[in-house]
């Protein structure tokens, strides 16, 4: 067991460093595609998976998937290295490394998959692996509950997504996304609205749009490296990725523009107010992630070059600064033992490198020139001004960005330069594996901003082209775009943000009061889950009574009703009973069977009933012999024999039938038995009345010897012509035997335990 192994075993550290190394190699592997993709080409690999269903493992690299792949592997490598230090000595660190690596691979598969079904499989794999990661501290019930909440919510959206994908694939005639997007917009085509709603349900739950947002802040129960990874470039961005990927096919309709604008804007503004309200820095960052997701969805509502460029630039810059800030908060938490914004302050002297990295990330987040964040904000304003719902989007974006500015101050400035409270530990600088990530990410945020042309050419513009579905003119990503309206809006943002930061303590109280008035969706979730469980319990009690007789009654009743309804509706006509041609022997066997049946019904002794049933069985075997089916007859006889043995063994442990002989045969049971008997007889007579179709018989007679080298046709059918059926049957025999074995042994064990207790 992992729990008992040495937590400091060297191979555990190796498992962390190793996965980080492999991920870094993958990053380098994807780097080589940068010039290819920037030149306007795409790369495609096809591996047939289930070709008969048109499901292939197709991987496709274009601008969008390459940007995501680089973020996933690049940030992934740094986060894994970070986690090796952060969780060093944790008894289950090896398990963590496995989860994180599996998650990275699933996410990579998701962004590279071109086949819709493959994409869905990877989509659900990220759901499962993130469930394991969020619930990593599985001893904590809150952590388990939050993990389950994330799982159920995103998996429910995933199911809607699957339905949407299947409809999309069937209506478009292909499951390859590259072909679907290449064939143009679906707007106005059949099922467009339904497909759109299903896809949006998947994307909005995954990317935590209001009102499905509440799982995301709860997912902070995970260790900080997980939050840094899941909430920067991966998991939650999967929904945004999907919307971007589907943009050429689904965008442009009024429905798309209105839904995405409104949900995105509401999420962004709501989340940025909530971010300001939190005092736990990790919670603050969680809500800023929500804000970023809302902003991205809002800009994907548009179809103009500026709107999409804004989305892609913001996506890139957000991934960089958010991962950096989460990692920084992790270092602070590690070093000081707290994440409380009210307590933290003045850490600059003790943690100079962390302070620098946090400053770089914070400046990018606040959108200060010359960081990439500034460019993202400029482009975003330009994009917002071009959008259909401009009057709505621009003010919402302004509020969100201003609040972001204030929150950047809270998470990146205040802990290092603000007044220091009482810290649980004396702060110290983090070790280099933990510092590497924030420093590199912060530097990149600055470098991309200083070299806008380069980052635009290699990363942003190829992604924009992929989302637009057509080559875009480019040249929008500039550090200095002249004196224009976006610049003015930026200046307003800074001013407003500064005021908000200065007053954030007062605002926090106000927001807390407003929050207390509003609906608590998180608590509502618990109530919903509880009611749902209660409902399933009632339902199970109703259907699964646990009484064998009732199950059999239900089975036979369904059989009787369906056969009866079919016979009546198909109007099969009369039944012909030709008894004239029966020989003396046949009459004898028939009487034997009837006598046996009557005896079973009348006797009060179990053994007598058993013997009488045996008579019925042997009668049937005799019929098989008379019609020269020796194989079937032998089997029938042997089975009959074994049934007697088994039942006799069972009877040893059972009480006698009602000794007075007056056991209650319920009227209902008798009716059912008689109807099933009559209906079966009618069906058999009707079948026999049809002219016998000899095609199969002729085939088997002709080929049994020539193709299968066997003269016993029954056996040849069993082991050659219909082997798969036989294989299925013996599998059933095995499963039934094992099932009965487990039941009997389990009952014996339970009884033994009970006796011991007494």
């Amino acid at each position: 067991m992992a729990e008992h192994s040495d937590p400091n075993a060297p191979w555990k550290t190796v498992s962390g460093i190793g996965t980080s190394g492999v991920t870094a190699l993958l990053f380098v592997f994807f780097l080589q595609y940068l010039p290819v993709i920037a030149a306007g080409e795409t790369v495609r690999w096809v591996v047939p998976w289930i070709p008969s269903l048109d499901i292939n493992l197709t991987f496709w690299i274009d601008g969008l998937s390459l940007m995501f792949a680089l973020l996933i592997t690049g940030i992934g490598a740094m986060v894994m290295l970070y986690a090796a230090k952060y969780l060093a000595g944790h008894p289950q660190y090896d398990r963590f490394a496995l989860y994180l690596f599996s998650f990275m691979l699933s996410m990579l598969g998701l962004v590279l998959a071109d086949n819709l079904i493959a994409l869905f499989v990877f989509w659900e794999l990220t759901t499962f692996t993130s469930y394991l990661l969020i619930g990593f501290s599985h001893a904590d019930p809150k952590s388990r509950r939050n993990a389950l909440q994330a799982l159920l919510l995103t998996a429910a959206g995933g199911l809607a997504l699957l339905a949407g994908f299947i409809m999309l694939g069937i209506t478009q005639g292909t499951f390859e996304m590259s072909e679907i997007t290449a064939s143009g917009s679906l707007v106005g085509k059949e099922f467009y609205t339904l497909i759109l709603f299903l896809v949006l349900a998947g994307a909005f739950t995954k990317s935590a749009q209001v009102p499905f947002h509440f799982w995301l802040p709860n997912a902070m129960a995970a260790p900080t490296p997980v939050s840094a990874y899941l909430h920067s470039a991966t998991m939650v961005k999967a929904g945004v990725y999907l919307l971007a990927r589907m943009h050429p096919a689904l965008s442009g309709s009024d429905l798309w523009i209105w839904i995405l604008s409104i949900f995105g804007a509401v999420t962004a503004v709501f989340a940025s107010f909530m971010a300001l309200r939190q005092t736990d820095l990790k919670q603050t960052l969680a809500y800023t992630t929500l804000m970023a997701l809302g902003t991205l969805v809002m800009f994907l509502a548009g179809s103009t070059g500026y709107a999409i460029t804004a989305a892609m630039t913001f996506l890139l810059v957000h991934s960089l600064y958010k991962a950096g800030l989460f990692l920084t908060i992790g270092i602070i938490d590690h070093a000081t033992g707290t994440r409380d914004a009210n307590v933290l302050g003045g850490l600059r002297a003790a943690m100079p490198i962390t302070a620098m990295a946090a400053a770089a990330a914070g400046l990018a987040m606040a959108g200060i020139p010359p960081f990439l964040g500034f460019i993202a904000k400029e482009v975003a304003y330009a994009g917002a001004l071009e959008m259909r719902l401009m009057v709505f989007v621009v003010p919402m974006a302004l509020i969100a960005f201003a609040l972001m500015f204030a929150v950047a101050g809270i998470v990146a400035y205040k802990p290092f330069y603000g007044p220091q409270g009482k810290l649980p530990h004396k702060p110290h600088e983090g070790p280099w594996p933990m510092l590497l990530g924030p420093v590199v990410l912060g530097t990149l945020g600055l470098a991309f901003g200083l070299l806008p042309g380069l980052s635009a050419y290699y990363l942003i513009e190829p992604a924009v082209n992929a989302v637009m579905g057509a080559p875009d003119r480019g040249g929008r990503v500039k550090l200095w775009a002249g004196f224009n309206l976006p610049l003015l809006l930026s200046l307003i943002t800074f001013a407003l943000g500064f005021v908000l930061y200065a007053k954030h303590q007062a605002l926090r109280g106000l927001l807390a009061r407003i929050e207390a008035r509003g609906p608590d969706l998180d608590a509502g979730w618990d109530v919903f889950l509880e009611r749902f469980m209660a409902f399933t319990k009632v339902q199970t009690k109703l259907i699964q009574t646990g009484v064998l007789r009732q199950y059999m009654f239900a089975t036979f009743a369904v059989f009787a009703v369906t056969v009866f309804v079919t016979l009546v509706t198909r109007n099969v006509g009369g039944v012909r009973l030709a008894l004239g041609g029966l020989s003396f022997m046949e009459w004898g066997v028939a009487l034997l069977i009837i006598a046996g049946t009557v005896l079973v019904l009348l006797t009060s002794s179990r053994i007598m009933a058993l013997v009488a049933l045996g008579v019925v069985g042997i009668g049937v075997a005799l019929i098989f012999i008379m019609y020269s089916a020796p194989d079937v007859a032998i089997t029938q006889l042997l089975v009959e024999l074994l049934v007697v043995v088994l039942l006799a063994l069972a009877f040893l442990k059972m009480p006698n039938l009602d000794p007075t002989g007056a056991q209650k045969h319920s009227f209902l049971n008798a009716t059912l038995a008689i109807s099933v008997g009559v209906l079966t007889s009618v069906v058999v007579l009707l079948v026999v009345d049809q002219p016998f179709d000899r095609r199969l018989t002729t085939f088997f007679e002709a080929t049994s010897w020539t193709e299968a080298f066997g003269r016993n046709i029954v056996n040849v059918i069993l082991v050659d012509f219909r082997t798969l059926d036989t294989f299925g049957e013996i599998a059933v025999v095995l499963i039934a035997a094992l099932g009965a074995f487990v039941l009997l042994k389990g009952a014996a064990k339970a009884r033994a335990a009970k006796e011991e207790k007494e």
Binding site: P630, D631, I634, T635, L638, V639, L641, L642, V645, L646, L649, A650, K653, A708, F709, G710, R711, N712, V714, N715, V716, L718, V719, D720, T723, L724, T726, F727, I730, A731, V733, L734, A736, A737, L738, A740, F741, L744, K745, A747, A748
Partner: protein
Amino acid sequence: MNSIIFTAAARLLVALLFVFSLFMLLRGHHLPGGGFIGGLIGAVAFIVYSLACGPAEARKALRITPEVIAMLGLGIALLAGMFSFFMGDPFFTGQWYWVGGDSYDTAAFSVNTVLVFDIGVYLVVLGGILSLTYAFEEET
């Protein structure tokens, strides 16, 4: 069952039944018989033995637990079916090899996957039924 006559007769009967079950298994391709019937007869043999000498003794005589026998049988049947896969034929296509000749009529005997599959069926039926019966008998 404490009957000396039954116990003594059972020993003889078990051996005969068991040999008969193998005989039925092997002749199944041309005459009535086969893995299913053979397995049933084999199970009857061991059930007779367990009725005569008790399930503990019968288990000892069987040497391998019946559940394992059944699972082995399913595995053998699956392997027999997968063999054709490696030969480039569709799943479960019978593979025939002639020894001492080049067709069914001239060869001394044949080696084929169909019989291997039937042996798998035999083992599943034998093991499955015995596992059920023994569990019943031991349930006190």
